[in-house]
Symmetry: C2
Subunit: 273 residues, 2 copies
């Protein structure tokens, strides 16, 4: 069994466990603020994934939201980047529209990405260089679109921020329309499947984007920070994921004009990490 096949089985099994636990009551606890809910399911799922990776591949490394895993500083061996429940608020309030996300990197290079929409039972997955799949259906390359005919994913919350809002407003105004689904991992794979032409957010952790990014790259999409730099799985970052034409238009017509504010925000992200 390849690591890819193992990971595919593991994420599906983890999803089945989530469904089982959801039939019981959900015990919710708050982390630092009411917007940052985390559930027992989150922790149990990360532990399940971590323990199974360690049992089968004791020399692999794991980066995860809930603190399981290892402190990593640079590229070494096989690294799994795991988000047990992406879209925690959807999980709590909607009992659906959340995902398990796994990105696997080998010596710093993308190896495979998985985003599992648990309640809809849709697994988005890709092995680098071999194309992306929605369950067993190949996902075609995404078409290029200019902003004015694009539907973009962006949370309304960001438009209320004083400086950031001023950068994002002209983008929303020029776009055909905007959507907000509340799960970064799902919104990134929605770009890969063409439901969204792009997805923009000022702050994600590596486990939010690692799986989706590998899938998006396989269908010709591009993901960077708002300055256009390559994303690292070792630090939080601002995010723009889109088809190549839209990505290029957003960087040159919008983000480059505001490079000083964006660099400041990126620096704050690193400082607060």
């Amino acid at each position: 069994m390849t690591v890819y096949e193992f990971a595919k089985g593991l994420i599906l099994e983890a999803g089945n466990n989530v469904k089982k636990i959801m039939k019981q009551d959900i015990e919710i606890e708050t982390k630092s603020n009411p917007n940052d809910l985390v559930t027992n399911v989150d922790k149990a799922t990360e532990k399940y994934i971590f323990d199974n990776i360690m049992k089968t591949y004791p020399n692999h490394l794991v980066i995860g939201e809930e603190g399981h895993g290892h402190d990593l500083v640079d590229e070494q061996g096989v690294v799994w980047v795991v988000d047990p429940i992406d879209g925690t608020l959807n999980f709590v309030h909607q009992k659906e529209n959340f995902a398990i996300s796994i990105g696997i990197y080998n010596e710093g290079k993308p190896y495979a990405g998985f985003v599992y929409d648990v309640m809809n039972d849709v697994l988005y997955h890709a092995k680098a260089g071999e194309g992306a799949y929605e369950n067993e259906h190949p996902i075609p390359d995404i078409p290029s679109t200019p902003l004015k005919t694009s539907i973009i994913g962006i949370n309304p919350n960001w438009l209320t921020k004083p400086r950031l809002g001023e950068i994002f407003k002209p983008i929303v105004d020029e776009a055909r329309s905007a959507r907000a689904y509340g799960s970064a991992a799902l919104e990134i794979v929605y770009v890969a499947t063409g439901k969204l032409a792009g997805y923009i957010t000022p702050r994600l952790q590596p486990w939010d984007f690692a799986g989706g990014l590998i899938i998006l790259n396989e269908v010709g999409g591009k993901g960077t920070n708002l300055m256009g730099d390559t994303l690292s799985i070792y630090e939080p970052s601002s995010i723009v994921m889109a088809n190549k034409q839209l990505h290029s238009e957003l960087i040159s017509n919008h983000f480059e004009k505001n490079i000083e504010i964006i660099e400041l925000l990126q620096q704050r992200l690193k400082d607060s990490d």
Copy 2:
């Protein structure tokens, strides 16, 4: 067969026709602007619904988006308020997440509401006074929530508008989070099923909200314009749909403070109709 049973069969059959036509190519035409796409499917579906109502109930009246039906000025007999495709941009860009919406009124009083999420094959429906259903499952009454623990539906587009944006921003900031799904009919039934605690938008036509409103009322939710007034199926309106506690909080803490701007917007809606 009751009108309710007839309407239920009709909307499901109309949905099946949509799926069939979607397997063929979709010919898109633009109405007044690129944000206002309308498809052959839209027109064909409205004609199908209109013709079938007229065949079975020649004395009923129909209000519809695409111009079929009758010019109505006040409450008379049985009136069907029909949106053949709500969420046209989702239809065009996503091939899913759109709905057929039907609200039926008898002598000005709500009789039955239907919102059919075609691609997910979920029919939300309610006969006034007899409870609401998601397919065959009764929808429970929705819980009361304060804004600070609520997920609200609001399109990011509205936050970029100069005066309206200033009214909506504090709401988005105080809410636990915000979502935007791109179909008013679906967003209203999401309030009814508790996926969203509320849904706010400055402008809807009667066919966008008539079906969903009847469903929402059956589970204890409330829908009015932003001034708190009862909605009419004969004119466009601003919209706030929510559980009762949230509805009351939004009106008294947010919209009443801005009543002059809101009245102005409401007047413009009527003038432009």
